[in-house]
């Protein structure tokens, strides 16, 4: 995308920031190609979590003592950093959650339950992760709304003619993935959101895979909601983000009740705090938020243009090498892709591919990738998936290809 202008990335130097990358698995150097499942953590993230517990631990928004004030300020500073990371208009548009799944469930439970009624339609797509399908099914069952899904082309892109047909006067919500975890397709989200908003449809973008790999600008995308997870963007597990446009968040009822999300409480009734506190009941994952802040700072220090350019080169090289192999078929061949190479091997089940690669110290994912409708669309029970991050190397892709040849030799 921005390959021409991007500064070079020094991958050997970057790798030294990730302690786990120097370990061995089954006697071989670890080749970690399961980044779509979760990413590895650079030292600044590990140190931020550790430092919080060693030197800074206190609850936030409560005490008037030194540590609590420091923790509160640091927590809110990360909120501001996240807002800059996705170019939100204000920090108050950033809600901390446990992850993408919880972010989407929050929208379904709060906005969805109050806004939808029988006869309304929710438009999703055939390449959504289960976390962007099942919350809407629960919402549909509770409200009487109906789910429609945009079908996929053979290359793994959205069928845009069908999208236009499915977007109707009944559509209330468009929920669409930015970057597919099973296919690697980058969806034209800005265009889809514009078409939906033109009809007054609320829009949610699942950014679990895009946040680590693509520049994200929620104002340019024009979406109402954007969800992503900390652990896929080199931060800790257990923390995620929901961006919501201030106007919408302000109108939404609470999702969970408890401390921190209220203004006043009597034994009969309570009044709600304004967003984002309204959606952050109870003590949050403070140490993980510190880790997320360190992760985003780290990503920005490497530079997203440099990351994008290097990952594009890695994916192109891996695609070319796997295409050379006999009996391999790539699932997901859209022109606009990032990070993900999903494939099947004639006569060999993906789990057996994964087991042989693991024996060579190579970590990939084998399975349905929590996207069973994608597997059904392409008529496969599962795929093997290599997914790349900026700390991967061409030599690691060579190791992958060597191991894939071994797979063919063993099972053919």
């Amino acid at each position: 995308m921005t390959a021409a202008a991007a500064p070079a990335l020094d991958v050997e130097r970057v790798r030294k920031d990730f302690p786990i990358l120097s370990r061995r698995v089954n006697g071989k150097p670890l080749v970690y190609l399961d980044n779509a499942a979760t990413s590895q953590k650079p030292r600044p993230v590990i140190e931020a979590v550790s430092r919080f517990y060693s030197a800074e631990n206190a609850n936030i928004h409560r005490g008037i003592h030194h540590l609590s004030e420091r923790a509160t300020a640091a927590y809110d500073a990360v909120r501001a950093r996240v807002a800059r990371f996705v170019n939100a208009a204000a920090p108050e548009e950033i809600v901390f959650t446990r992850g993408t799944t919880e972010s989407i469930n929050l929208v379904a439970g709060s906005w969805g339950r109050s806004a939808l009624a029988a006869g309304d339609e929710i438009l999703i797509t055939g390449m959504e992760h289960h976390s962007n399908i099942v919350p809407w099914q629960l919402l549909a069952a509770a409200t009487g709304a109906t789910i429609r899904a945009v079908p996929l082309t053979d290359s793994g892109e959205l069928d845009l003619d069908a999208f236009d047909r499915l977007l109707s006067d009944r559509t209330r919500l468009l929920a669409v993935v930015h970057l597919s975890n099973a296919l690697g397709t980058i969806n034209p989200v800005r265009d889809l959101v514009a078409r939906a908003r033109g009809r007054g449809v609320v829009t949610l973008v699942d950014g679990a895979q895009s946040a680590p790999h693509l520049p994200v600008d929620v104002q340019a995308l024009g979406c109402d909601f954007f969800a992503f997870s900390g652990h896929k963007v080199f931060g800790p597990t257990g923390v995620g983000v929901l961006y919501g446009r201030a106007e919408l968040l302000g109108r939404m009822p609470p999702w969970q009740g408890g401390g921190d999300m209220i203004e006043t409480v009597t034994l009969e009734r309570s009044t709600w705090a304004p967003p984002p506190a309204r959606f952050e009941a109870g003590t949050p994952m403070i140490a993980e938020v510190m880790g997320l802040g360190a992760a985003l700072e780290y990503v920005e220090s490497i530079g997203r243009p440099a990351i994008g350019a290097w990952e594009e080169e890695l994916l192109a090289y891996a695609t070319e090498r796997v295409r050379e192999l006999d009996g391999f078929r790539i699932i997901g061949t859209a022109p606009a892709k990032a990070s993900v190479l999903s494939f099947v091997v004639d006569g060999v089940h993906p789990h057996d591919v994964g087991a042989v690669l693991d024996d060579d110290g190579i970590a990939i994912r084998a399975g349905h990738h929590c996207a069973q409708p994608v597997m059904q669309r392409f008529g496969v029970p599962a795929t093997a998936r290599a997914s790349f991050a900026f700390y991967n190397t061409r030599e690691e892709i060579d190791a992958l290809v060597r191991s894939l040849r071994r797979v063919r030799g063993l099972f053919a």
Partner: protein
Amino acid sequence: MSSLSELYQNVILEHNRSPRNYRAMEDADHQAEGHNPLCGDQVTVWVRMDGDLIGDVSFRGAGCAISKASASLMTGAVKGKSRAEAEAMFERFHRLVTGTLRPEEAETLGKLAVFSGVSEFPVRVKCASLSWHTLRAALDGSQAAASH
């Protein structure tokens, strides 16, 4: 390398390439479908009883080499056995793949002993035992009850 070659023994690779009794059964009196939702593996097992004995047993499905070879070897092992004998065999097989079977007991499993390497790969235990669970479900229910 050693644990991987323990897992994918030649007998297993050969049964994966050419599974035995790999067919639907027209005149089955028991049938069940098994799924492993974690990996999407799917198997259907058919049984025709001959009095108190398993007269014929067959399977079809999609799965990894371990699950396919396990189903194939299972069909050979339980044919001609009573339900109780098949159940006892499954019990020993399950202890084999979870690494809790004594070596002298393993000898009583015959060809099924090739799955001993599975115990080094805990995530593959479900692959090896899927067809056995499905056989049990088939024998427990009638065809109508199992096909819901």
